[in-house]
């Protein structure tokens, strides 16, 4: 560079960016305790956007990524959402991580017709309103998610554990957070319907690390499996401590524990996890993501929600690409972008992404994996059908 020229430094790409820049925002926790997920999400979205810029996916525009930290706090998320919403260049938002933060961000974005695609929220109410199971009603027309909600994943796990693995006396534990509690609730319903007995229900503190008293509490009921609603940072140690306390039964959890770190932290061979989408090995798109992520050299791992964040971002990019082919992007295009996203049909890293009338993913493909030889090995992939 030189100190005399004050010209534009937009470098690198040979794409036509004459129409300007479009911003894709993100709201996720990037500092504090769960930042591992937030940072993985940030990198994955960044990757998708870089790829789009390189491939000139959105003709005439340069895409810019704007991640905003929400510290997992609803009021901070609302602030971040407002900040993004008041910028006319913001086309869409990826996020959030927590359902509770989504609850405060979604209304603000909805008011400005800004599309929001979450890779991680699983709270059913976000797409189906408060009476999600009985009288679903979509609260936010702009809200979509690529993660399967708890109404899907919990029961899916229950079916495998009860019917395939033949466990009949199950202890359930959750971490008291939105995801864990919701997952366990729906797991329990389905498991009981299938004839299993829930012999103990316990909670662990969000920041607990020594679970021995929880384990002692369920030990006397002699369960033959433990279902855990929560994330791997607690689930790994929990699994190990179960064994150490002489309760050597398998632990099962949702996508929150389907991470290699789970095994590092104490997950035992024979533990199960459900995961959204087909296994990475069976999906070339998934492998492509993993490779591209590794090649990009981000300092943090992509985390459990990396592939879905990547997909969520690509949903937006794809819809934008279609939209700006005909007319330039203006604030008024936002409504049409919502419609475009609704029509998405994208072969993504987590499977085919499309949305139902509530904004939920139609991808009900789930996989059960088990820990074997130090990694998760897919056991069974299936499509979940609601059974009422």
């Amino acid at each position: 560079g030189t100190n005399r020229s004050e010209g534009d430094a937009a470098g690198g790409s040979s794409c036509d960016t004459s129409k300007g820049t479009l911003v894709i925002g993100m709201i996720a926790p990037m500092s504090g305790g769960v930042s591992a997920f937030g940072l993985g999400m940030r990198n994955s979205a960044d990757l998708a956007i870089d790829q789009a810029n390189e491939n000139c996916t959105v003709p005439g525009y340069r895409l810019v990524f704007q991640p905003e930290d929400d510290q997992s706090l609803p009021q901070i998320a609302a602030q971040a959402a407002t900040k993004l919403a008041s910028d006319p260049n913001v086309a869409a938002v990826v996020g959030t991580y927590n359902s509770s933060t989504a609850q405060s961000a979604a209304p603000i974005l909805a008011q400005r017709s800004i599309v929001q695609v979450s890779p991680a929220n699983t709270g059913p109410a976000l797409t189906r309103g408060e009476k999600a199971a009985t009288q679903p009603r979509r609260p936010f027309p702009t809200y979509f998610r690529v993660a399967a909600n708890d109404l899907v994943q919990g029961p899916f796990g229950a079916r495998y554990l009860v019917q395939e693995a033949g466990k009949k006396k199950i202890a359930v534990i959750d971490d008291g957070k939105t995801y864990g509690v919701g997952l366990v609730e729906n797991f329990v319903k389905e498991a009981e319907r299938l004839g299993a007995r829930i012999v103990a229900r316990e909670k662990v503190g969000e920041k607990d690390t020594d679970f021995s008293s929880t384990i002692a509490a369920i030990r006397s009921s002699r369960p033959d499996a433990v279902y855990y609603g929560g994330e791997y940072p607690a689930a790994g140690p929990l699994s190990r401590q179960l064994a150490e306390a002489g309760l050597d039964v398998p632990l099962m959890g949702g996508d929150g524990i389907a991470d290699p770190q789970y095994i590092e932290l104490g997950g035992r061979p024979g533990d199960f996890a459900t995961n959204i989408g087909a296994p990475v090995e069976s999906l070339s798109s998934a492998r492509a993501f993993v490779d591209a992520y590794a090649a990009a050299g981000y300092p943090e791992p992509s985390s459990a929600y990396g592939p879905m964040t990547f997909d969520a971002t690509n949903v937006i990019i794809g819809a934008l690409a279609g939209l700006v082919r005909n007319s330039p992007f203006e604030e008024s295009s936002r409504q049409r972008l919502v419609e475009a996203v609704q029509r998405t049909n994208l072969p993504g890293a987590s499977g085919t992404v499309a949305f139902d009338e509530f904004g939920d993913t139609t991808n009900k493909v789930l996989t059960v994996s088990t820990v074997k030889d130090g990694e998760f090995e897919p056991l069974e992939t299936g499509v979940f059908e609601q059974s009422n």
Partner: protein, 308 residues
């Protein structure tokens, strides 16, 4: 019966760990009347110090043998904790010696946040929990009572270490010259200076001692649970603070007893009190409030009115 016993064992182990940390709270409080919220972070940093040592320094064969690895890591963790505790005293608290009473409290909270975030940002991989090497005999001995009462070897080690260190500390404070200087400073800093005591040195020594205990606790914690996380300090720290107050803040015996009570209430309360494990924290704090209402100075706090 075996459940009751197992929960008691669990409570004692957890309580001993809390007690080790509570000792640091109590010593610092005793000497400068500061609730050093960052002390939990000193514990956390100790654990990461040990982890760094085993990851980057110790050759593999050393780690195989616990009787090599454990002492080395204990020393390593203690050194890191002491360094952090001393630096904290020197740069954050010392300039505030004569400031209004609440200022250092805010500083302590700032140090706590900053340390935790510093580890998260600068320690490779610390954004998620990291596995910690098992540097002591793994597994548990199962007492043949009823269904069996598992006692982790590391858990037993923690209890033993607490007892040994607490007794040693009490003797040190009661009988050594430095211990006497510590007590003198805690009562009247200016007059202590008139006795020829250098408060700076003694206060640093207090922080360092607290650091040793926290570092040891950090390593034992890692060895016991097999992983470390950046927020362990905060959570355990709050419990330790509770324990210190419960026992009578400023009092060594109190910290130990308080720690054990907190551990036992969590384990037994989660089992037998209404609400189960969902409310175990609540029970700890309810017990705390109840104890303080009936004994406002904690179990062993000093009651005597000091005459002027």
């Amino acid at each position: 019966m075996s459940t009751l016993l197992s929960q008691t064992v669990n409570g004692l182990v957890l309580g001993s760990l809390i007690g080790l940390i509570a000792l640091g709270y109590t010593m610092v409080y005793g000497i400068i009347q500061l609730i050093n919220f960052a002390h939990g972070e000193v514990f956390m940093v100790g654990a990461y110090g040990g982890l760094a040592m085993s990851t980057y320094l110790l050759p593999g064969f050393v780690q195989q043998q616990w009787y090599f690895a454990l002492p080395l890591l204990l020393v390593g963790g203690a050194v890191v904790s002491v360094a952090v505790a001393v630096a904290m005293e020197r740069f954050a608290y010392r300039p505030l010696r004569d400031a209004p009473r609440l200022a250092p409290l805010i500083t302590a909270l700032g140090v706590s946040v900053a340390l935790q975030e510093a580890v998260r940002v600068f320690y490779p991989g610390a954004i998620s929990p990291l596995p910690f090497p098992r540097v002591f005999v793994e597994g548990a001995y199962v007492l043949p009572i009823g269904d069996g009462v598992p006692v982790r070897y590391t858990g037993a080690l923690i209890i033993v270490v607490l007892v040994v260190l607490a007794v040693a500390l009490q003797r040190f404070i009661d009988h050594s010259r430095l211990g006497r200087a510590m007590r003198a400073i805690s009562q009247d800093r200016d007059t202590a200076r008139l006795m020829g005591i250098d408060p700076d040195r003694v206060i640093v020594a207090t922080f360092a001692l607290g650091g040793v205990l926290a570092g040891v606790a950090g390593i034992l914690y890692g060895a016991d649970l097999g992983f470390v996380n950046i927020d362990i300090g905060f959570q355990t720290g709050i419990f330790a603070f509770t324990a210190a107050v419960l026992g009578g803040i400023g009092n060594i015996r109190g910290a130990v007893v308080g720690g054990l009570v907190v551990g036992l209430v969590k384990a037994l309360g989660g089992q037998y009190l209404p609400g189960g494990t969902a409310y175990d924290y609540v029970w700890i704090f309810v017990v705390l409030i109840a104890v303080l209402v009936f004994r406002p100075q904690g179990f062993f706090g000093e009651t005597e009115r000091v005459r002027a």
